[in-house]
Amino acid sequence: MNYGIVSQEQLEQIDTILSSKLIKLGVDCVIIIDMAGNIITAKDNGESKYDVYSFAALAAGNFATVDAMAKLVGEAEFSLLFHKGQDSNIHFSKIDDELLLISMFGKDISLGFLRLNVVEAIEQIRKVWEGTNG
């Protein structure tokens, strides 16, 4: 799969999905990164001020580490990766072998509700992706 170049049209479709599925629900910030730590796209609610580039590098490293640990204990992968804090939480979800969707959200949203919407968003994103790269 060639994920190195994404068309403007694809990115716009993906941004629309992220906005309508996640940001509208109250998610503070959503980032799609690749496993090398590049940012594919980032959307926020206009208030959050994260250093997304450093965040992407750390998130890719974090995910890769957990993935490598899964293999060591004989798991194909750990499907849920979630960090819970006092005021904010981070949720990681794999879109495919190369892409990761990361959501940052506060205490107003439950994990179950978020996961439900992340799953739907990912299904739609996969379709956009397959549309031109499949």
Partner: protein, 201 residues
């Protein structure tokens, strides 16, 4: 692999500093971080042990300005050099666009440089990349030690050991004084950007 965002016209380029333990990879990035503050928008991220050895990586994003209307964002990484950390070295190499191989010019490090370069070759193969094709610059670091009476290898020897087959651009340097740190960086950026430019329309 670099990521090109056609919508926002941003190109992200990943450059990794690779080399044996304590050869000066982190010191290279620290110098860049101090010297080019105005081109760096965020803090350097260092995942390290208490003894200041790199545990996972250092990360420094660096703005290059525009080429053909695209914003070039250079992401500098270092790997952990200690022998036991090869699994993490491999993770950091994922998606690499260009490599700076930092060799330690100290005489007693001769074998370690060679072993580290060989392992870079193997690690790249695991990603189906070739050390002979990927943009690469070699740096012979710590040449300042000569003035302090520490035995260092003549550059001709280092070259023969490390660069006789690769024949890539190489520099003597001192990451601690900054000598040729910027020259090394400029060279790897230009080689990498040239190889990526072919993808830009």
């Amino acid at each position: 692999m670099s990521f090109i965002n056609l919508k926002e016209k941003v190109v992200q380029v990943k450059i990794v500093y690779y080399g044996p333990g304590r050869c000066g990879k982190t010191t290279n990035l620290e110098y860049v971080n101090r010297k080019f503050r105005d081109q760096i928008q965020s803090e350097m991220v260092s995942l390290k042990t208490h003894g200041d050895r790199t545990l996972f990586f250092d990360f420094l994003p660096f703005d290059m300005g525009q080429i053909k209307g695209y914003d070039i964002k250079i992401q500098l990484y270092t790997v952990p050099g200690q022998v036991k950390y090869n699994a993490t070295r491999k993770l950091v190499l994922k998606g690499v666009d260009g490599v700076v191989f930092v060799a330690d010019a100290m005489e007693k490090q001769r074998e370690k440089n060679i072993r580290s370069l060989n392992q870079l070759h193997e690690n790249l193969q695991a990603y189906k990349e070739s050390i002979f094709k990927l943009p690469l610059v070699i740096q012979y670091n710590k040449v300042d030690l000569k003035d302090h009476g520490v035995p260092i290898l003549p550059t001709a020897v280092l070259r023969k050991d490390l660069n006789s087959r690769l024949k890539v651009p190489d520099f003597e340097a001192s990451a601690i004084t900054g000598y040729n740190v910027a020259a090394t960086l400029k060279k790897i950026i230009s080689s990498t950007v040239v190889s990526i430019q072919k993808k830009l329309l």
